[in-house]
């Protein structure tokens, strides 16, 4: 398949691995892949076994499902209790346990939870059910939030006034800033998220590259993409440079996607927000701005959620900060498994615990 197969060429990959071994020498290097989709690719193609042992790959907080705190889940679960509400969301969120229930359990019992693959589908459900309120529970980074913004603009234009959004959207660069400040982590370079960057471009990483002197390379998701990004990072480290490089040139322009960015600006406002594992990060969340206030579920609906409890025994938080790996969790594989997940890192198909479970520890 075009744009996929060429970047899975085994021979080129093996030659690239040899180059990485030569260039890295015996230098200890820690690289973090911020994005959960990268984590999955890295494991699927067994990249850690190909790289020299002195290159360490850390998984970061880039799984939106994993970093969404229980409070939002509890709020969504509370909406489902209301008879006149249909709650819609992406499949990933359905199974995540909140404080005492999950949307999946509610779906079975109440029947008013619907999985959608796109916000346009949620909007259509709203159009088809004018006597109900249709809430879209929106979770995701800069890749996804423009699709939510687009649905709100369409709802306003077409006067679909029973459509509401519960916005738990987050921004990636502020979380990277927090990780850079963790002295224990000692990150030497970032493999930056390819699809977040199709929207935001290269500029937002400059503060980390130039300000903190940590090389950043925006990477695609095929094995050659990731290996080439690692090669580019080590080249920068070797030369003592710290710049924002773009490996994923076929999809990422320096300026990002201006149309998507202006939609974000039109619809959302930046706020401080809480991340599972990382705590409150200043200016890292997107809430619905006043112009679209009539579609903001948190403003419009006065439905109280249960008191939030965080998971007991789950160390997802430390894993999201790159401090621990799933092997450090006593519940991993024993009690916590994909069919009975205890924490968000196991529920999400791209959570670090799910990746370790599926592809084995490397």
């Amino acid at each position: 398949m075009k744009y996929l197969d060429e970047f899975r060429n085994g021979e080129l990959a093996h030659r690239l691995v040899t180059k990485i071994h030569q260039l890295a020498g015996d230098r200890e290097i820690t690289l973090m892949e911020v994005c959960g989709t990268h984590t999955m690719s890295i494991f699927r193609y067994g990249l850690p076994t190909l790289l020299p042992p002195n290159i360490r790959l850390l998984s970061g907080p880039g799984c939106p499902v994993c970093v969404t705190p229980n409070g939002y889940l509890d709020q969504a679960v509370a909406y489902v209790r209301e008879k006149n509400i249909i709650l819609t969301t992406f499949g990933d969120m359905i199974r995540v346990p909140g404080s005492s229930s999950s949307l999946e359990r509610k779906r079975v019992r109440e029947g008013n939870v619907q999985v959608v693959y796109s916000t346009l589908q949620a909007l259509k459900i709203a159009g088809d059910n004018p006597h109900k309120r249709v809430v879209f529970f929106g979770v995701g980074f800069e890749t996804t939030s423009p699709t939510v913004a687009a649905s709100l603009v369409k709802a306003k234009r077409e006067k679909i006034n029973n459509y509401l959004v519960l916005s738990a959207h987050k921004l990636i660069p502020p979380a990277m800033e927090v990780l850079v400040s963790e002295p224990e982590l000692n990150i030497d370079g970032f493999i930056c998220p390819g699809h977040v960057s199709t929207i935001i471009g290269a500029e937002p990483y400059k503060a980390i590259a130039e300000g903190r002197h940590i090389p950043c390379v925006i990477a695609g998701f095929e094995p050659l993409d990731i290996l080439q990004a690692i090669y580019m990072l080590i080249s920068q480290i070797e030369k003592g440079r710290a710049e924002v490089g773009i490996q994923y040139r076929r999809a990422v322009r320096g300026e990002g996607n201006p149309r998507a960015l202006s939609l974000l600006e039109e619809v959302f406002e930046v706020e401080d927000t809480y991340w599972r594992g990382l705590g409150v990060i200043p200016a890292s969340g997107l809430k619905i701005g006043d112009k679209y206030g009539q579609f903001d579920a948190e403003k419009v609906l006065d439905i109280e959620a249960e008191e939030t409890k965080e998971d007991r025994g789950c160390i997802c938080g430390d894993i999201l900060r790159g401090m621990k790996t799933p092997g450090d969790c006593p519940l991993f594989k024993t009690i916590c498994r994909p069919e009975n997940p205890l924490g968000a890192c196991m529920v999400s198909s791209e959570g670090t615990c799910a990746a370790y479970y599926k592809y084995g520890e490397v």
Partner: protein, 73 residues
Amino acid sequence: MCLGVPMRVIEREGTNGLVELGGVKYEAGFQLVDDVKVGEYVILHAGFAIQKLDEKEAQETLSLLREVFENST
């Protein structure tokens, strides 16, 4: 969750359209891109085309990879 897949545009009318991968067709919203035509490729994410793929850049990335080896061997 930021999964995006390269797909070929087979129909487009304003912000609505169809994209295809391996013979399977999907509906796509084109609200986030402007200059995309039928026959071109886009990254599809959550039912939206989020960026157009650049054929020339893809070829350059691959030739850059091959060059690294030629210069070193």
